[in-house]
C-alpha cells in the first residue's frame, strides 16, 4: 500500500507494529522480509519515487577536515535510496574485519563473520546476486578465463566480488505498493523521535513535508534506516527529551564516521600480456571478478588495515580525473554526468596511448578507514527547510590509513618481483614514509559508515549486537551506521545482511512475546 503523506490531513496519526524510517537498501530489505506477515509495517520515505531537488536539499550540510563530496549529492533521497545510481559491487567482509586487532584501535565487533553468514546468503535475494559463494575455486569452474596472477597465496589472495544491478526503487516499488501489510508513506521526513519520560521506549516519531503537514507515527518497534549520516543526525536532533540527543549518553552518536578510501596508488607494468578476465569488471556483463588482497597473517605481521587492490588499464586510468574532483556539484545528477564525462574523455585520450603502457595497469586501493572518534557527524547551526539542523561532517584520516596503503604496495611490489611477472611503481604521494597526509585528490567511495557503532558496552558503542540502541527498548538502527569497522568491500551487501539479521531479531522478540 502506498500513501503520499502530503495528501493526508494535517496532524494525522499513523499506527503500526513496525515503523521503518527510510526506504533505501536497508529499509526496503527489511520491509520485504515482513511482507505477508500478520504485522502492519509502516515504511517511511522522505522523498517520492523520483528525484526531487527540494527533498534532496534536505541532505545538504557542511564538511570540514579531509576534502569530501558535497553532502547533498553523496546519497540519494527518494524511494530506493542510493541504489538509484550505485555500481552494485558486492563482496562480504572478511573474518578479520570482525576481530579485535591490537594494532587497530577500537576494532572488534561483538559478532563474528559466522553470525552474519546466514544473512549474507539471504541478502543475495533482494540484491539479485548469484550464489553466496566467494571462493575463487568456485568461480573458476563457473566462468572461463579466470587465470590468477602466480602470486604466493600465503601473502596475496584473490578476493572475489559479485555485481548487482538491483535498483531497489524500480525493482520493488510495485511489490511494496501492492503489499497488504507494508504501508509505504512517501514525503514523510522524520523530524523527531519522542520517548517516554524515562527515555527507555520510543512512543512516536514526528514526520513533516514541504507542504507544511505534520503527522505522528506510533509503533511497537522503530527501525532507523536512513543511512549512517542521517541516522546520526536524527538521533542528535531528537533532543527535546534527551538534551545530547537520543542514545548519546556517552557522546558516541555521530562519532567514528568511516569511509572507504579509493585511491589510485601505483602502477603495475607487466613484462608480457597476461591473458585473464579475473581482474576485469564490465558493468552489466561481469558476474564475478577479483581484487588482490593481503592475507590476515600478513596484515597481522605488518600491523596494517584490510584493503584490496583493483586493476584498471593504465592507458585509461592515467587520463582519469580523481572522482573527488569531478563529483563536486550539489546536484547528484550533474555530478554523475561530470563523472561520466570524465570517463568518456579518458577513454578518448587512451586511444592515443601506445607501446608498453598497453601491458600496464593502474593499481587502485580500496581500504577500510581506521576507526577514529574525531571523524564525526554533528549538527550544524543552520536548519533545513523543514526546520531540522543541517549535517556537519568532519572527516578525519589517520597515519595508520596512510601507512597501510604504502605497506600494501611494498608487499605487492615484492610479490610481483618474486613471481617475475612485472614491476610496480608507487605513486608519488606514497613515497615518503614520513608523510602521513592525504591530498585533496583523495577519493572516497560515497560510503557512510560507523556513526552508531556496534558494541555490547554502552560506553563503546551506540547499538548492541542486535542493533538496538543502548538504553532504549524498542529503537533499532539498520545499516552501515552500525559497522564497528568498515572492512574493505563496498558496504551494501553487509548492510543488507546486517539489516536482515536485525529483522530476524525483531521477529524473534515478537514470537517470544
Amino acid at each position: 500500500m502506498h500513501i503520499d503523506a502530503r495528501q493526508l490531513n494535517n496532524n494525522s496519526l499513523i499506527e503500526g507494529d513496525i515503523c521503518i524510517i527510510g526506504a533505501g537498501a536497508a529499509g526496503i530489505s527489511i520491509a520485504l522480509d515482513w511482507m505477508d506477515t500478520p504485522y502492519k509495517v509502516i515504511l517511511l520515505e522522505g522523498g517520492g519515487f523520483e528525484y526531487d531537488d527540494k527533498v534532496q536539499e534536505l541532505y545538504a550540510g557542511k564538511t570540514t577536515g579531509q576534502k569530501y563530496y558535497p553532502l547533498k549529492s553523496s546519497r540519494l533521497h527518494y524511494f530506493g535510496g542510493t541504489t538509484g545510481h550505485w555500481a552494485g559491487m558486492c563482496s562480504p567482509f572478511d573474518d578479520v574485519d570482525f576481530k579485535k586487532r591490537d594494532w587497530v584501535g577500537d576494532s572488534g565487533w561483538p559478532i563474528t563473520k559466522k553470525d552474519l553468514d546466514p544473512f549474507y546468503a539471504k541478502a543475495h535475494k533482494p540484491l539479485q546476486l548469484g550464489p553466496y559463494n566467494y571462493e575463487y575455486e568456485y568461480w573458476n569452474k563457473e566462468l572461463p578465463n579466470l587465470n590468477p596472477f602466480p602470486l604466493d597465496e600465503q601473502v596475496v589472495w584473490n578476493k572475489m566480488w559479485q555485481y548487482s544491478q538491483a535498483r531497489f526503487g524500480k525493482l520493488y516499488n510495485k511489490t511494496i505498493i501492492n503489499s497488504k501489510n507494508v504501508h509505504l508513506y512517501t514525503y514523510a521526513n522524520v523530524m523527531d523521535i519522542l520517548t517516554n519520560e524515562s527515555g527507555t521506549q520510543v512512543n512516536e516519531v514526528t514526520i513533516k513535508n514541504h507542504q507544511g503537514k505534520t503527522h505522528k507515527v506510533r509503533a511497537t518497534h522503530f527501525i532507523m534506516a536512513c543511512g549512517a549520516t542521517q541516522n546520526a543526525r536524527l538521533l542528535l536532533a531528537s533532543n527535546s527529551q534527551a538534551p545530547k540527543g537520543l542514545g548519546n549518553d556517552h557522546d558516541l552518536v555521530g562519532r567514528y564516521f568511516m569511509e572507504h578510501l579509493e585511491i589510485a596508488s601505483a602502477e603495475l607494468w607487466l613484462f608480457k600480456r597476461f591473458p585473464t578476465d579475473l581482474y576485469r569488471w564490465h558493468y552489466g556483463k561481469t558476474k564475478s571478478s577479483a581484487e588482490l588482497a593481503l592475507t590476515e597473517e600478513i596484515q597481522k605481521e605488518k600491523r596494517i588495515l584490510n584493503g584490496t587492490v583493483s586493476l584498471s588499464r593504465l592507458s585509461l586510468a592515467k587520463n582519469l580525473k580523481p572522482k573527488i574532483e569531478t563529483w563536486q556539484d550539489d546536484d547528484p545528477r550533474k555530478s554523475r554526468e561530470k563523472l561520466n564525462e570524465s570517463y568518456d574523455d579518458a577513454g578518448e585520450a587512451s586511444k592515443n596511448e601506445t607501446g608498453n603502457i598497453r601491458k600496464a595497469f593502474q593499481l587502485n586501493t580500496r581500504i577500510e578507514q581506521a576507526p577514529n572518534p574525531n571523524s564525526r557527524v554533528t549538527l550544524g547551526k543552520e536548519k533545513d527547510a523543514l526546520g531540522m539542523p543541517k549535517t556537519q561532517l568532519h572527516w578525519e584520516l589517520t597515519a595508520l590509513d596512510k601507512r597501510s596503503i604504502r605497506t600494501i604496495y611494498q608487499i605487492l611490489g615484492q610479490q610481483v618481483g618474486i613471481a617475475g611477472i612485472g614491476r610496480i611503481k608507487l605513486h608519488e604521494f606514497l613515497r615518503d614514509p614520513e608523510d602521513d597526509t592525504f591530498s585533496d585528490s583523495t577519493n572516497a567511495g560515497w560510503h557512510h559508515m560507523g556513526t552508531t557503532r556496534m558494541s555490547n558496552n554502552p560506553k563503546e558503542g551506540v547499538v548492541d549486537s542486535n542493533c538496538k540502541v543502548h538504553g532504549i527498548g524498542n529503537l533499532f538502527v539498520a545499516g552501515s551506521a552500525c559497522f564497528t569497522t568498515s572492512g574493505a568491500p563496498n558496504p551494501t551487501l553487509t548492510l543488507v545482511a546486517l539489516s536482515l539479521r536485525l529483522s530476524q531479531h525483531i521477529k524473534d522478540i515478537i514470537n517470544n512475546a
Binding site: W269, I418, R423, I424, K425, L426
Partner: protein, 125 residues
C-alpha cells in the same frame, strides 16, 4: 739472500692479490659486463628514457657506488657459480627483500645497479 727472499715473497704476495683481481676485473668482467649493464628484463617494460632515468637517480642517490668499478663490484658479488643466471639473482633479491624504491619503482638492488651502469655507459658513449 735476504733481498732475494724479500723479492720472492713480494712477487708471490702480489700474484696472490693480482691474479684473482685480474680474473675478477678482466676475465669475469669480459664475461658479464655486457649482460650486467643491460637491464634486459626491465627493457621489456620501460623505454630507454625510463631506464636511464632510474639509473641516473640510483647513481646520484648512492654516492658510495659512483663508479663503474664499484657498481660492477656490487653486481658481481651477487653472482656466484651457484647463481650464474642474472634473472635468478634478481629473483633472489626479491625473495630476500633486497628491494629499493627508485623514482617510485620497486626494483631489486641488482636491477638498480644495472640501470646505473647502463646510464654510465650511455652517458660515456
Amino acid at each position: 739472500m735476504k733481498r732475494r727472499k724479500f723479492f720472492l715473497l713480494t712477487a708471490t704476495g702480489a700474484a696472490i692479490i693480482a691474479i684473482p683481481s685480474w680474473y675478477y676485473f678482466h676475465k669475469k668482467k669480459n664475461r658479464d659486463n655486457t649482460l650486467l649493464s643491460n637491464p634486459d628484463m626491465l627493457a621489456q617494460i620501460w623505454d630507454e628514457e625510463t631506464l636511464l632515468n632510474i639509473g641516473k637517480k640510483y647513481y646520484e642517490e648512492n654516492p658510495e657506488e659512483r663508479s663503474e668499478k664499484k657498481l660492477l663490484k656490487t653486481l658481481s658479488k651477487n653472482i656466484s657459480s651457484f647463481k650464474p643466471n642474472l634473472n635468478e639473482v634478481i629473483q633472489e633479491d626479491y625473495k630476500s627483500g633486497r628491494i629499493i624504491i627508485v623514482d617510485g619503482w620497486f626494483i631489486s638492488v641488482t636491477e638498480a645497479c644495472q640501470c646505473a651502469l647502463y646510464y654510465l655507459k650511455q652517458t660515456k658513449s
